[in-house]
Structures are given as structure tokens and as C-alpha cells.
Amino acid sequence: MELIMEQFPIVVRALNVGFVQTLKLFFITLIGACPLGLVIAFGSMSRFGPLSFISKIFVWIIRGTPLMIQLLIIYYFPGLVLHKPIWGGGEGGRFLAASVSFIVNYACYFSEIYRGGIQGVPVGQEEAGLVLGMTRSQIFFKVTLLQMIKRVVPPMSNEIITLVKDTSLARIIALQEIIWAGQAFMKGSQGISGAIWPMFFTAVYYLICNGILTLLLGKLEKKLDYFQ
């Protein structure tokens, strides 16, 4: 116990650095994937056959393969196959490659949630809008969008909380997020070696982060309650 107290400040400092990476990846993914998901959702709902076909195939491929493999392909493929290491070996390049993988992957999941939300709005509302002489984009932004947002909040909360934990997958391309930082103490880092507790301690960070997110998303859900 005494040993842990001695190691605590060093470990917490290292875990904080790792957690900043985790949070950065989380927010960038969210900022990128939310709008991109909407674009893909429109693609797969398009009445124009080839576009919806391509979108659906794309969603199938991304949702049908593990994110870990996608990370490996996106990071290592350009250098291995094309001999153009576009990401570079440094930390920044690894982070960029991880961000791209996460944004694309999560956008596909989001797109299906959005599609459910949009198609869940009764078709009568759209017909009413058309009768009133509104354009399709007017109908979407003034009638459908807010109702869709209300409907997608619970399933999106689910995905967002999963995303916080999924960021740990980025360690496969040596992005030094919090679990990497915790594991480093097992084999030895900064004079601490063979310490197992830091890795388990990372769970506290995830729990607190997801606790805050759950509260915030719950509040958002309440705020959107006035629709029904």
C-alpha cells in the first residue's frame, strides 16, 4: 500500500497525459463523424440507385470489419503497398491516422441511427409540407430535423459511450492513449516496473468520463422532451 502511495503521483501524471490523447481522439471523432454520418445517411436513402447502392456497400464494409483491422490498414497500407508512408512515423501522424479511422467507422454507425430517426418521422408530415408548397430542403430542416434529433439521442448516447472505450483500440498503431500509459508501468517506465495496478486504475478515468457524459446526454434528452 505504501509503495502504491509512493508511485501514485508519477502514475497519475503519466495517465493524465494518456487520457488527454484519449479525450482528443474522442472529441475529434465526434466532431467529424456526426456530420459525415448525416451525409452517408442521405446517400443510403437516396432515390438514385447507384448512390444508395455504393453507400450501403460502404456501410456494410465498415460495419462488417473490426475497427482494429481498419486502423492497421489505414495506418500501414500506404507505406507497405504503395511505398508512400503518408502518415509519417511520428505521434502526430499516428493520431491523424487513428482519427480518420475512427471518424469513418463511427460515421457509418451514426448514419444508420440517423436513417432510423429520419424514416421514423411519419410520411404524412412530408406530404403535408409538399401540399403547403415547401421545398424538400425546407421540409427537412424545418420539420424533420428536430424530430430526428429527438429520436436519435438515446441510441447516439449508446454509441458515444462506446466510443470513449473504443479509443483504446488505437494503441494497436502505438497511439499512446491511457491504457498504453498504464501498461507501460508493467514492464517498466520512469523507475516503476512490475506495477500492475496502474492499468486497472485507468478504468476509473473511463468511469468518471462516462459518468459525466451520461449526465449530460440525459439532460439533453430531457430538454428535447417537449416534442411529444
Binding site: 438514385f48 440507385g49 447507384p50 448512390l51 455504393i54 492497421l72 495506418y75 500501414y76 497500407f77 500506404p78 507505406g79 507497405l80 503497398v81 504503395l82 511505398h83 508512408p85 502518415w87 509519417g88 512515423g89 511520428g90 505521434e91 501522424g93 494503441r171 494497436i172 498503431i173 502505438a174 499512446q176 507501460a184 508493467m186 514492464k187 517498466g188 517506465s189 520512469q190 516496473s193 512490475g194
Partner: protein, 283 residues
């Protein structure tokens, strides 16, 4: 209008499929080129036929793949990478006239990191095993390492030769050189996840002894370490540390020349003494 867009998209898809086919076949010819180049005994592996040394010098940085591994590569208080390997790498970079960038990698992916050109070399107390030698262009050995038996200090007298080890229960890192030694000597052993876990087993008494790297043992076992009650006795085999480059790279040759010069002028010994690894330097 829609028909035209449809036709256009179909064309685009066909093209992209064809492109896939093309890149596949060019990759194959690329491989053939490499095979040819190797047969011809030339030193380049990439399709442009440019040397790896020229590639690194043009880029201006030598990206060194490492893990946090005291005393070879580790961070000082200000967060800079130091250690015997790190300091030698910096000096090597200077001799090439390039910056050295250290990147922490996942050790299991080291070959993929090299081949995808995200790093230029693996320089981290890497044991020259058959796997490493077949997948990388390696420098000559610069350090000797060995697998060594760790036992509680109170029992050390009893286990000073190989014959005395047969009735002990060992803990070894799964898949490590230590496990291979234990297998070849037909010792009783339990594979554990990490070398440090093997020490934990001995310290807690769940195993009688462990087999780990002698370098690791020197750093982690004995007085003044977290395992003051343990000590190391018999060295079971010897292995060598080398630096790995991409297959066919001419940088391995350049590094051998650099090492020879550093041995000659004593700068290698000086660096080794700084990190207390002078006993391990190879001739």
C-alpha cells in the same frame, strides 16, 4: 440526366475496380523486382532503385522505433529519450547529417512498422533471432545478452550450476528466449505474460526461480531494486543485440562502419559506462 449520372458512376466503379487489379499486379512486379534486386546482390529494395541511406538523408530525419526499455531507451526528467541505444542513435544520426526522431512502437508490430516506412530502424536492445534476421537487414552485434536464472538470495548457494536446476519450478515469459531455453533443457516451467511477472512469481514464492534476460536481471534484481531479496546465478545461453533496418537497406552497412569507428575512438565505451552496460559490449 439521371441515366447519364448512372452511366458515369458505373464507369467510375469499373475504373476503380480495374485500378485495384492494377495495383495488385504492380505490387507483384514490385516483389519480383525486389527478388531480382536481391539476386543481383544490389542494395536497394524500393521500386525507385534509390538507396535507403539516400532516402533518409533526403528526408532529413532518421525515425528510430523504440520501446521504453531502461537502460537502452528511456526518458529523462525533461522527457527526452536517453539511454545507451538512444545516445548511440543520436550520434549515428549526426554522422549521417540527419535529425533523429524517436517513436515508441508496439514491439509486436516492429517488422510492419519498418516495411511500411513509418520508422527507419528498430534500435532497442533487439535480440538477433532467426525471425529478426530473416525479416530485417541487421547490423552486426554490439551487445551480448544472455538468459539467466533468478532465485531468492537465500537459496542462491544451492543453484550455482545447470545440474542443480532440474527439480525447480521456473516462471518464464511466454514465447521468450527464456522459454526456449527452458524447453531445450527440459525444465519444469510455467509461462507468464511478462518478464517482470516472472520476477513477481519468484518474489511471491509461487515459482522457485525465473529465467529472464541478464540485462533485465542486472537492472531489476538485487540490492537497491524492488526485488532486493532475489539474485541471479547461472547464465544459460548467450545472445546478441543488433539494430534492424529494412530488408536490403544500405544503412546496416553504414552503421557497422559507424560502430567500428566508435569502438576505435572509445566513444562507444564512454556511452556504455554512462549507462552501466560496459560489461555487455561485444568486441
Amino acid at each position: 440526366m439521371k441515366k447519364w449520372i448512372a452511366i458515369l458512376l458505373t464507369l467510375m466503379m469499373t475504373c476503380s475496380l480495374a485500378a485495384c487489379g492494377n495495383s495488385g499486379s504492380s505490387e507483384e512486379t514490385g516483389k519480383e523486382d525486389v527478388v531480382k534486386a536481391e539476386n543481383a546482390g544490389t542494395e536497394s529494395s524500393d521500386s525507385e532503385g534509390e538507396s535507403d541511406k539516400a532516402y533518409v538523408q533526403e528526408k532529413g530525419t532518421l525515425v528510430v522505433g523504440i520501446t521504453d526499455f531502461e537502460p537502452m531507451d528511456y526518458k529523462d526528467e525533461s522527457g527526452e529519450w536517453i539511454g545507451f541505444d538512444a545516445d548511440m542513435a543520436k550520434a549515428f544520426g549526426e554522422s549521417l547529417g540527419v535529425e533523429v526522431e524517436f517513436v515508441e512502437i508496439d514491439w509486436d508490430n516492429k517488422i510492419m512498422e519498418l516495411d511500411s516506412e513509418s520508422i527507419d530502424c528498430v534500435w532497442n536492445g533487439m535480440t538477433l533471432t532467426d525471425e529478426v534476421l530473416s525479416a530485417m537487414e541487421c547490423s552486426g552485434a554490439y551487445c551480448n545478452n544472455g538468459q539467466i536464472v533468478v532465485v531468492p538470495a537465500s537459496e542462491a548457494d544451492k543453484y550455482q550450476d545447470e545440474e542443480s536446476l532440474s527439480d525447480l519450478n521456473f516462471a518464464v515469459e511466454s514465447g521468450s528466449a527464456g522459454q526456449k531455453v527452458a524447453e531445450s533443457m527440459e525444465l519444469n516451467f510455467t509461462p507468464v505474460n511478462k518478464q517482470s511477472d516472472a520476477l513477481l512469481e519468484v518474489a511471491s514464492g509461487t515459482s522457485d526461480a525465473a529465467i529472464i534476460d541478464s540485462m533485465m536481471a542486472a537492472a531489476m534484481v538485487g540490492e537497491g531494486t524492488s526485488y532486493a531479496d532475489l539474485t541471479y546465478t547461472v547464465t544459460l545461453n548467450s545472445e546478441e543485440y543488433g539494430v534492424g533496418f529494412r530488408k536490403g537497406s544500405d544503412l546496416a552497412e553504414a552503421l557497422n562502419a559507424f560502430f567500428a569507428a566508435a569502438r576505435e575512438d572509445g566513444s562507444m565505451m564512454e556511452t556504455a559506462e554512462k549507462y552501466n552496460v560496459q560489461a555487455m559490449l561485444s568486441e
